[in-house]
Each structure stands twice: as structure tokens, then as C-alpha cells.
């Protein structure tokens, strides 16, 4: 029986490994920075109307006549 280890230490250790791996996975992507396509996209859009048109253009089932 290994109940002693399971209660405290191992448990906390496992949880810290999970936290570490989760952040490692996430930060790997964060470190890639901003891909050019997104920087360009945001630079190109003049304002809400242009973005709404792009949303509507990319997906025809969207309602673009809202507000």
C-alpha cells in the first residue's frame, strides 16, 4: 500500500507538473509572437464596417445588417 505518499507530497508534485506542462504548452505558442497575417489584417481594417464586411464576406450565413 502506498497511501502515505499519495496523500500529500506526490499529489502536490503531480499538480505542479501538470501546471508546468500546461504553461509550457501554452507559452510555446505565445512565444511565436504575432504572425504577419494578423498584423496586416488589423492594419488594413479601417474600422468596424470593414471588419463586418469581411466577416460577412467570409461566411455567407451571417447576418450583416444588424445595427
Amino acid at each position: 500500500m502506498k497511501e502515505v505518499k499519495k496523500q500529500g507530497g506526490l499529489n502536490a508534485e503531480i499538480q505542479s507538473r501538470i501546471g508546468h506542462q500546461l504553461r509550457a504548452m501554452y507559452d510555446d505558442v505565445v512565444r511565436q509572437g504575432v504572425p504577419d497575417r494578423f498584423a496586416e489584417l488589423i492594419r488594413k481594417l479601417d474600422g468596424p464596417e470593414a471588419a463586418a464586411a469581411a466577416v460577412a464576406g467570409g461566411d455567407t450565413d451571417k447576418n450583416n445588417g444588424g445595427d
Binding site: K6, G19, L22, P35, I42, E49, A51, V55, G58
Partner: protein
């Protein structure tokens, strides 16, 4: 508020973490970037409804999360093709052993119910408070806490322990939450 240059910069600054969130949710780099693109378009299209001074990353994450959920429902049946896709999004390939452990972790993460996975990522990786995570997911703070707890118990069961039932989720939870002053 109007789309000022400052706001553009702030939106752009959120892109790296939006991508990380999208990839963690979908397990697929290409789909994740489509999700981010649509999030940015919708955010700017609805920029008038953003309250100046409120939490911009949380607002953007909310949009992305809602898009993912509607997208996910549509594509439910073709979701199981993620094998290897995540690794492709990485710039540097980890070492063999680290890679195996990483794959194992990613696979375990994908086995979690969606509610639990997103709660865990928001709190454990994106660094949102429980309150912000609750706002993003449109649920109560207590619900987020219990989802995070269940996610962590389940991950430890999948990854490290053959019989996780031996220790109650409450213990697991306490150890984890302790470090997170949220």
C-alpha cells in the same frame, strides 16, 4: 469605443495568447488561426460595444470561446484528426523524451470534457482570475473552480496515477488552488 491606433496595438498584443488559447482548445493549429482571424474581425466589427477601461483580453477571449463552441458543434464529427497537428505549430521541436511526455499530456488534455478543458486553460495557463474566467465562460465563479478542480484530478489520473479514486478531488484541489492567489 472607436478603433484608435492604441486599441489596435492592444488587440494585436493579445494575438499571441489568443492563438495559444485557440490551439489548446482545438488541438489544431490551422483551425486555431482561422478562429483567431474570425475573432479579430468580429471584435473590430463590434468595437463600439467594448467598454473603454474594461478587460480587453477577457473580451477577446470571450468572442473566441463563443466562436469555438459554435464551430465545435458544427464539426463535432471530424474532430478526431488532431494527431500531430499540434506539434507542427511549434517552432522548435522538443527532444524525443520531452516530446513523448508532451504528446501524452496533449492527448490527456483532449480527453477532458470541453467545459473542464477551457476552465483549466484559462486559469492555469492564460492566467485569468477565476472571476474573469467565469465571465468569459458565462458561468458562476464556483462553477469555474469546480471545473478546474475536476480537470486537474482527471489529468493526474490519466497521466500519473492508476487509481486516482484513492485520493479525493478535494485534496487535489486544495493543493492546486493554494498556489493561485486569484
Amino acid at each position: 469605443m472607436p478603433l484608435t491606433n492604441e486599441l489596435r496595438d492592444d488587440i494585436l498584443a493579445s494575438v499571441p495568447s489568443l492563438r495559444a488559447f485557440a490551439i489548446s482548445l482545438s488541438g489544431n493549429g490551422d483551425r486555431a488561426d482561422d478562429l483567431v482571424q474570425e475573432t479579430l474581425l468580429r471584435a473590430i466589427a463590434n468595437i463600439d460595444s467594448f467598454q473603454p477601461g474594461s478587460n480587453l483580453p477577457a473580451w477577446l477571449f470571450t468572442i473566441l470561446r463563443n466562436l469555438f463552441r459554435s464551430d465545435y458543434r458544427k464539426r463535432r464529427r471530424e474532430v478526431e484528426d488532431a494527431e500531430g497537428n499540434y506539434a507542427k505549430t511549434l517552432k522548435s521541436q522538443p527532444s524525443q523524451a520531452a516530446h513523448l511526455e508532451f504528446e501524452e499530456f496533449r492527448t490527456a488534455l483532449e480527453k477532458l470534457p470541453q467545459d473542464q478543458r477551457e476552465a483549466l486553460i484559462l486559469v492555469g495557463a492564460s492566467g485569468f482570475s477565476y472571476e474573469d474566467a467565469a465571465a468569459i465562460c458565462g458561468c458562476a465563479v464556483g462553477t469555474i473552480k469546480s471545473r478546474v478542480n475536476r480537470a486537474r484530478s482527471k489529468l493526474s489520473a490519466l497521466l500519473y496515477v492508476d487509481s486516482a479514486e484513492d485520493f479525493g478531488p478535494d485534496n487535489t484541489v486544495r493543493a492546486v488552488i493554494g498556489g493561485n492567489g486569484g
